[in-house]
Symmetry: C2
């Protein structure tokens, strides 16, 4: 399987150079060009093959961890470097090494704006935001299950964000444990964030995302004082206005492009499911709805009739149960759940919702499908 491995990159590629860490930037800047610097740095470890002792003591943290992850010529490696010449030079030298030993491998180096160690505010307001945004864009292009996040190299301060991103997007993190040779794997955990709380402020976040920022005044007028503490981590507040923080972007992304839908049942569908369908021997409406909510493919395979007004009838397979559903942001709304053997083959003519907006009142509330008997 072709993997995409996204690595934060530090300066450990320079460890054979014999230049002190705090003098590395000068060393790079004194070279005629970045190309020269990269070539010179690369030459200090080009001939070190990736076997145990070299990995542990001479090669960079990124190369060490990538070898332990088991990369092949067919993989894609994304190296995220700081916005400083020393970090960028190290990332480019690592790229050269990977291309030299794994012919044909794809390596992308991306310098992240604002990612540096001198100014914490810029780090927080730009660096880590751009870091998260860039990874999210990569996640969109590939399937989460083919991606690995690798925070072995680079700033320790990026680790919390990498871990959270992995958890929310269902991506595993693999990293090398300090001086050891063993890979630590942090698979995605069954975590979810409480989106309901966020919901009321959706238009506000939409506006911040669209306009890049809103005024402090608008923020204060829109967000209830008691709720501000809860929101603190999601925004960056300065005299220039309110912008989304790295965590804010992560959350906003999960609202807009949910990794999975969550089923919500109308009052009618609750009665349908518990009092009718669940009594059938070979029918588990809850398992079916969980499955289609969790996978776009399963949803599209189950789609039977598109009513054209946002509502669709789903059909699990060769069974009698049918589900009238719609998608609203991250929610799969289940309006009805019926039996074709009871309603007849023309059930979609019989059970109709002509105007979902107007008819909604008689179906709502839609309650989250999570229960205990």
């Amino acid at each position: 399987m072709v993997k995409t491995i996204i690595c934060s990159v530090g300066t450990s590629a320079a460890k054979k150079l014999g230049v002190k860490p705090n003098e590395l930037l000068n060393w790079v800047n004194e070279k005629n060009s970045m190309e020269d610097a990269v070539e010179c740095l690369f030459s200090t470890f080009r001939n070190l093959v990736s076997e145990d002792q070299n990995l542990k003591s001479s090669l960079s943290a990124e190369i060490h961890s990538l070898v332990r992850i088991g990369i092949t010529n067919e993989d894609q490696i994304v190296l995220l470097s700081s916005n400083t010449n020393d970090g960028y030079c190290c990332a480019l030298a690592v790229k050269k090494y990977l291309e030299y030993y794994w012919k044909g491998i794809g390596v992308l180096v991306k310098k992240i704006p604002g990612l540096q160690v001198y100014d914490a505010e810029t780090f927080r307001k730009t660096g880590v935001v751009e870091f998260v945004k860039f990874i999210l864009k990569q996640v969109e292009s590939y399937d989460a299950s083919n991606i690995i996040l690798n925070p072995t190299g680079g700033y320790k301060a990026l680790v919390p964000y990498t871990v959270l991103l992995g958890m929310l997007k269902g991506i595993k993190c693999d990293y090398i444990f300090e001086q050891s040779t063993t890979l630590l794997e942090l698979p995605p955990l069954p975590l979810e964030f409480k989106r309901g709380q966020f919901e009321a402020y959706k238009p506000l976040f939409e506006e911040i995302d669209r306009e890049s920022s809103i005024s402090l005044e608008k923020w204060q007028n829109s967000v209830d004082y008691l709720e501000r503490k809860w929101f603190d981590p999601l925004v960056e507040i300065s005299s220039e206005g309110v912008t989304l923080s790295a965590l804010g972007f992560l959350f906003w992304e999960e609202i807009r492009k949910p990794s999975a839908l969550v089923p919500f049942l109308s009052r009618n569908a609750i009665a349908d499911c518990f009092d009718n369908l669940a009594l059938l021997d070979n029918c588990d409406p809850f398992r079916f709805l969980s499955r289609v909510a969790g996978s776009k493919l399963a949803f599209s395979q189950a789609e039977h009739l598109n009513m054209g007004n946002g509502l669709r009838w789903l059909k699990p397979g060769n069974t009698t149960d049918r589900y009238l559903v719609s998608i609203e942001d991250w929610r799969l709304l289940v309006w009805r759940a019926i039996r074709e053997d009871q309603e007849g083959s023309k059930y979609s003519n019989k059970i109709k919702i002509d105007d979902p907006e107007a008819d909604r009142r008689s179906y709502s509330p839609f309650i989250r499908m999570e229960f205990v008997n």
Copy 2:
């Protein structure tokens, strides 16, 4: 407010000693005693007051971050050291420094079994498990809102666990951003883990926790093949058997001692709330139930009648709504929600559940109280 700050501790306290990091262990071991080593190490930074330049370049990462967090003589500092003499020596020297400059401050040094960098398996199976367990014990003794987790010092590999623990327990993480002087704050995010999925395996986890491990065979027979991938991060599997991983402990703790309850409504209570109570002008049953589920204090203040069989009537205040509830692990089960002005002052005699176990069938399912209109 008195704070408890829990810090992972590394070896940066030795930076003024002039001994290379990989020779520090030998240096400590060659001293006559640990006491001698600590005294000698402490003397290299005892006279450095905690002002900007010293913090940045001469004092340890732990001292730097604690000063930025703003500790006072009244705080409690918990220093978690590796299970190696060099790490332990550094932690004890940091303790001396803190006690020297903050008279009366409480400093606890705890050496964590298995926490070291030489053997990744021991790190994973013992070190990080003991690290998480020890912090959880501290969290029990204090209120989460008075605790700060500080992963500035110590192994980078501990950061993901510290962050997850903070998120699940609602504890903020504060840390210093590399060479900068600014504190980064990572407040707890509104995350929750999907406990429902875990539920079916509760007895199994109970057994692992009680017996420390179960046989591989028992594990394989008890956990459905398809679910094993999901469970992977929660256990450590070796030839000796199956034990809980650090993440497994975290989750198990949240099942056993939930930070907050989640309200679930019976079918009857759904009708009660939506069709009756919610129609009243001055009554918001959902806000009330969320509030008592989220706070033990609020719950006990609202408790009006204890029926003695696990069921309790709650009363919000000077209003007419009354709620018949019970607690089941992390769930607040709401059996009924009634109006005293309709049922009369003897409502608890009129609406009775004599045998909750036997009568449960006519109330179930209890459905999670999360909905959209």
